[in-house]
Point group: C2
Chain length 236, copies 2
DNA sequence: CGCCCAGTTGAGGACACTCAATAGCGGTGG
DNA sequence: CCACCGCTATTGAGTGTCCTCAACTGGGCG
């Protein structure tokens, strides 16, 4: 849980502008010339699992694009228990709050090794003045986040444990045939669907026994999307 | 449940530009001159409870500001059950999806009598070209929606029925001393916190018996925010 | 007056939680 | 190389909460 201070982020050399930002989904579509406007440092950040990118209520003034890896956004309840509010993967943006001058709304924690680009909000503001296109791009990101949030609400907080886990698996393991996420720990899965680790474990164990899931070693898996869908819809 | 077709909305007279849009929170801050850019109709809409403003998956091309009343945004599960994903009140914006050319993501249903302003996405785009300020305003709205969504996830899907109902009451009845929302039906409340109507009813009945809630006639209420907070935090 | 709908209350059962013990894996050090 | 430790996952037993089904109440309105 080594925290990475924002200070640390900004003090680094300005090695970007030549960096991978240009590939970054956020800036895709901006033309070469537009980059001359970037006078502030855009810094690369690397994280290891459990590292914290930023914390709730912090005022960082930067947003981030996730160029590689996976992260989770956490919120906490008064009793201390935590809930995973969203997952982020390649190309996703986090910390958009910074653009409207708000403190971060979550803890952002790395689930895998991550490569991240940190972009000061001021850079966006400057670019945006001459590139309304950028705002369009940002709004798309915002809407994506909102869709995700709503989907989580309806998919992961309703129905039986069996249904929720099935839906989660469909979202995590299966979407892209090869790119299995490491299939997180039971604890994290529980925090996503609002169940205890034990219940998640039991549920997955049963799915395995029924042949819906196949454990390839430790973390890799195959899954029968067909039946998972039926389970998710409560038909089984 | 009389549906209001979007066609119906757009065919109306262009009585706005002089209309209340200028007071609308969304456009607050734009100066007089900026309104000359609005060539398209901005239409007023009035809804009665249970009326539908738009439906999921529709492509309306317009966004809306809620000038008065309260609305709910719904999503559905495969089994047909519905979940209330967000509530909207005075000054809130809905249908932002239209700005990024997406179909609406929810059913938008009136809970009370509503006054609404319908604004074509094209108007925003045109205005935005010369008024980057407007984008800033829009992003703030988007972030608001996102904060709401996240808050619902953590507050209304965790803890016991007692806790959830307490949190809901704190959000609905109490925030503004006088402006009690009609304290929705049990069914709606259930759809917000992920419980059955019976459980909500039982829970509220008990709170009443314990003197935390006082029924003033039929819908009005007083509540002991102090103890509600303690209940919400699981200390009672 | 009686219907209708929303809310309330009851009884019974299912499901997920809690607490607790066991198993499996990986790393570390003797 | 094996023994041991720590962590995570798994499994079990018992309990509590919430859901389901169903009956009953009460106010609003035709």
């Amino acid at each position: 849980m080594k925290p990475i201070s924002l200070h640390e982020i900004w003090m680094g050399a300005t090695k970007c502008r030549h960096c991978a930002v240009r590939d970054s989904a956020l800036f895709a579509g901006l033309r070469e010339a537009d980059f001359r406007h970037i006078h502030q440092p855009i810094k690369d950040v690397t994280l290891a699992p459990t590292d914290v990118l930023y914390r709730m209520h912090e005022r960082g003034g930067a947003l981030f694009t996730l160029r590689g890896g996976a992260m989770k956004l956490l919120q906490y309840l008064p009793d201390g228990s935590q809930r995973i509010v969203r997952l982020l993967k390649n190309g996703d943006v986090l910390g958009l709050e910074a653009l409207v001058d708000q403190p971060y709304q979550h803890d952002a924690v790395a689930l895998t090794d991550c490569e991240i680009c940190a972009i000061p909000a001021s850079v966006i503001e400057r670019l945006g003045h001459e590139q309304p296109r950028l705002y369009q791009e940002l709004m798309v990101r915002w809407q994506q986040a909102l869709n995700e949030a709503d989907a989580w609400l309806t998919e992961f907080t309703t129905g039986t444990a069996r249904q929720r886990v099935a839906r989660l698996l469909l979202r995590l393991a299966c979407p892209d045939q090869g790119g299995h996420l490491p299939l997180f720990g039971r604890e994290d899965m529980g925090a996503m669907v609002g169940l205890t680790t034990e219940t998640v474990s039991r549920t997955i164990a049963e799915l395995r026994r029924q042949g819906v899931l196949r454990d390839h070693g430790a973390t890799l898996r195959e899954c029968d999307r067909e039946t998972l869908h039926r389970i998710a819809d409560g038909e089984e």
